[in-house]
């Protein structure tokens, strides 16, 4: 009995501590597993946090672009604006432990990376996580002084009439097709297609069509960067939105920032109408297909709230009064004026002398700088005001009329950004228009409200570089041709005049956004890239 008890005691004694070892071993094992799992979680959380921080830095960089854009908008001279601290950049704390630094045409944005005349904004966004600073860098290119980007804009109705109306809105300096896209067409009131045969951006639909411009005769598709005739479905019943639409600009149904302008459709934004209907067409597909305007090609229709723009005549009158570059021409033409502000009769004397070849000099026989005509003027002779690489701006304080088959050329040196910015023709209208309308031509009437009237004719060609601006609209008579590199903005003085009317004419506006810098307000971003 006692021997058995002893044996049991020895056995128990032998097992003492075994459980502890097992428990310890397992505890260590499980702790190790637990720690490893926690470590994995920690690593994953760190990765996720770094990605989050990277995203934060990107949005901080975007905030920098927005801040820089706001500064350009607020500047009295958007074209000349650079950030105050130069290459050091403007540093601003933003968000939690974040910041951004931006440059406008200085530091990394210096040297016109976006192209001469364009504003370059570069912004670095930073965000911090666990002591690590993570950054993103973006760059935006803008057109300073241009609050809107439309090739052809009218405050009131923009219309095309007649089945032989052709309007092309290609880009100036196209790269590959659609880079950049063609110009936008817009209105605050209405865009009307008066005839279903009207052609807008109709590129050699069935056979090759050509246009004759100042630099030669081109197949129309070449204006958009195509090297050969593009193949696309022209039948809207088959394809109302052919791929080629992506090359063109948009129809902008605009509303002024001051509130809607009443239109026949009763819509708060401008409407698009066909013939005499007052129903708003809502898409390009519907315009081409349902409404049968099968030769109209624009990319999309969109609604935008835009500022109404205007140019003060006094600014240009002052410039003309201090412009003595035309003194010799004035003298040779028999005028005693020294500056470049003329009464209509005086300006007619200048035009007649130039049209006659400037027989008594000077050479070259050109006007220079801002020329101001204080009243309505009617061109009765074909003339090239500034030669083919000039810098003339024609400002008229009345109406401007081109008689039938009379041509006018106002060209600039487009190899420079200042040449591209210089306005071409500005028609301001009389301070107080006449109470009675006078017949001008082809049913057009005027009273000095600020219209640009082309009477038409197959020999009539208006060749202009830069902005064409009118206070009360532009009408283009039958068979006339417009060859413009720049943009058009046409106002309305509460008259019944459409802001733009193409009546069986051919209009080519090669859209140069720099021409809109003449308005000197704000900025529009045209490209954006993420550098890092």
């Amino acid at each position: 009995m006692s021997m058995r008890m002893e044996a049991t005691a020895v056995a128990r004694h032998d097992e003492q501590g075994m459980a502890l070892i097992v428990v310890l071993a397992l505890t260590i094992l499980l702790t190790t597993i637990g720690v490893a799992l926690v470590g994995l979680m920690h690593t994953d959380i760190t990765h996720a946090s770094i990605q989050h921080t990277l995203a934060v830095s990107f949005y901080n960089a975007q905030a920098g672009v927005a801040d820089a854009t706001a500064q350009v908008f607020a500047s009295p001279d958007p074209v000349g604006y650079t950030n105050p601290h130069g290459s050091s950049g403007e540093v601003q704390g933003y968000g939690q432990n974040g910041s951004y630094t931006y440059w406008v045409d200085t530091g990394p944005a210096a040297g016109s990376p976006c192209g001469a005349g364009f504003k370059t904004i570069e912004s670095v966004g930073q965000a911090t996580y666990l002591g690590r600073s993570i950054s993103s860098r973006v760059r935006a290119c803008g057109v300073p002084g241009a609050p809107i980007l439309t090739a052809l804009f009218g405050v009131s109705q923009v219309e095309a009439q007649g089945s032989t109306s052709r309007t092309y809105l290609p880009p100036y300096l196209p790269g590959t097709p659609g880079a950049p896209r063609g110009g936008n067409l817009g209105s605050f009131t209405e865009v009307n297609f008066n005839d279903v045969g009207i052609r807008v951006n109709a590129l050699s639909e069935t056979t090759v069509n050509t246009v004759t411009l100042r630099d030669g005769t081109f197949d129309d598709y070449q204006l958009y960067g195509f090297s050969s005739r593009p193949s696309y479905e022209t039948n809207p019943n088959v394809d109302p939105t052919p791929w080629i639409l992506q090359v063109f600009g948009d129809i902008v149904k605009a509303q002024p920032t001051t509130g809607p302008i009443p239109n026949d459709c009763g819509t708060p934004y401008a409407c698009v109408t066909v013939q005499n209907s007052n129903q708003d067409v809502t898409s390009i597909a519907a315009l081409r297909d349902t409404d049968s305007v099968r030769h109209a090609y624009m990319d999309t229709m969109n609604q935008q709230v835009l500022p109404a723009l205007s140019l003060p005549p006094s600014t240009f009158q002052s410039r003309a009064l201090s412009n003595f570059a035309n003194l010799t021409l004035n003298q040779r033409a028999g005028l005693t004026v020294t500056a470049s502000s003329y009464a209509p009769v005086q300006f007619d004397q200048i035009v007649s002398y130039m049209a006659g070849g400037c027989t008594r000099g000077p050479t070259p026989c050109v006007l220079q700088g801002t020329v101001y005509v204080d009243g309505t003027y009617r061109f009765t002779k074909t003339v090239n005001l500034g030669d083919n690489a000039g810098n003339v701006t024609l400002a008229v304080r009345g109406d401007l009329v081109l008689d039938t088959n009379v041509s006018l050329t106002v060209r600039h040196d487009l190899s420079t950004s200042s040449g591209r910015r210089t306005p071409g023709i500005l028609v301001f209208g009389l301070a107080v228009p006449a109470s009675r309308l006078s017949n001008i031509c082809s049913g057009e009437q005027a009273n000095g409200s600020g219209q640009l009237i082309m009477c038409g004719g197959s020999s009539q060609q208006l060749t202009v570089d830069g902005l064409i601006y009118t206070v009360d609209g532009m009408s283009i008579g039958p068979s006339a041709a417009v060859d413009q590199i720049g943009a058009m903005y046409h106002g309305n003085r509460a008259t019944r005049n459409p802001s733009f009317s193409n009546q069986n004419a051919t209009v080519v506006v090669r859209f140069d956004p720099l021409s809109l810098t003449a308005f000197g307000r704000g900025m529009t971003i045209v490209s954006w890239q993420q550098l890092k």
């Binding site: 097992e15 428990v23 597993i33 994953d44 976006c114 590959t176 097709p177 950049p180 999309t300």
Partner: protein
Amino acid sequence: MGLVLFSLVILTLYQVFIPTLVLSSNTTERLERQQDVRLAIDRLARELHETTLARLTIYTAGCTGAYEGCIGYVTARCDTSSSCLGALTSSCSGPYFQTPNGFPEWQATIYVWRDTGSNELRRRCDTTTTFPSSTWPPPLTSFTVVARQIDQAAFTLLATGVQISVRERAATASRSSRRYQTEFLNRTVFVPQNP
């Protein structure tokens, strides 16, 4: 007897650890899957920011069967420092091209889609055109894989941007879905910055 008791204690301890292990595994897996789908979207983020809505097409017709979540959009990036158009490139992630006017000069079209057979999110850079194909599928002979184990992908066109939704399924089908989250969805909206 002692061993039995200790075994019971250890089993009890292990049972205490199980919820922790489940939680830990679940969290890790969840983070990994989220990271996966996030990385996939990050791989597309820059080019979606840099494209334009004017040349972005989301395909519904034709995007069935072997394809899901089909989108095409242009890029101004090229692998080479000279123009990309027609050149043999694969990624279109090199320098950014601009026209003298400061506008982006488009170089190629990128297509992204989910291959339903392999559950891969695929990306193809087509340097032969700068216009997204009007019909799906375009030629998709060579591509790179953006993400794997993607069981759902969708693109939706919004007024000002494009919404991308990617869902990844964890490779834990044998585990109880009651205890484990097995599907992870990431939905992000990108606003193309170019006009």
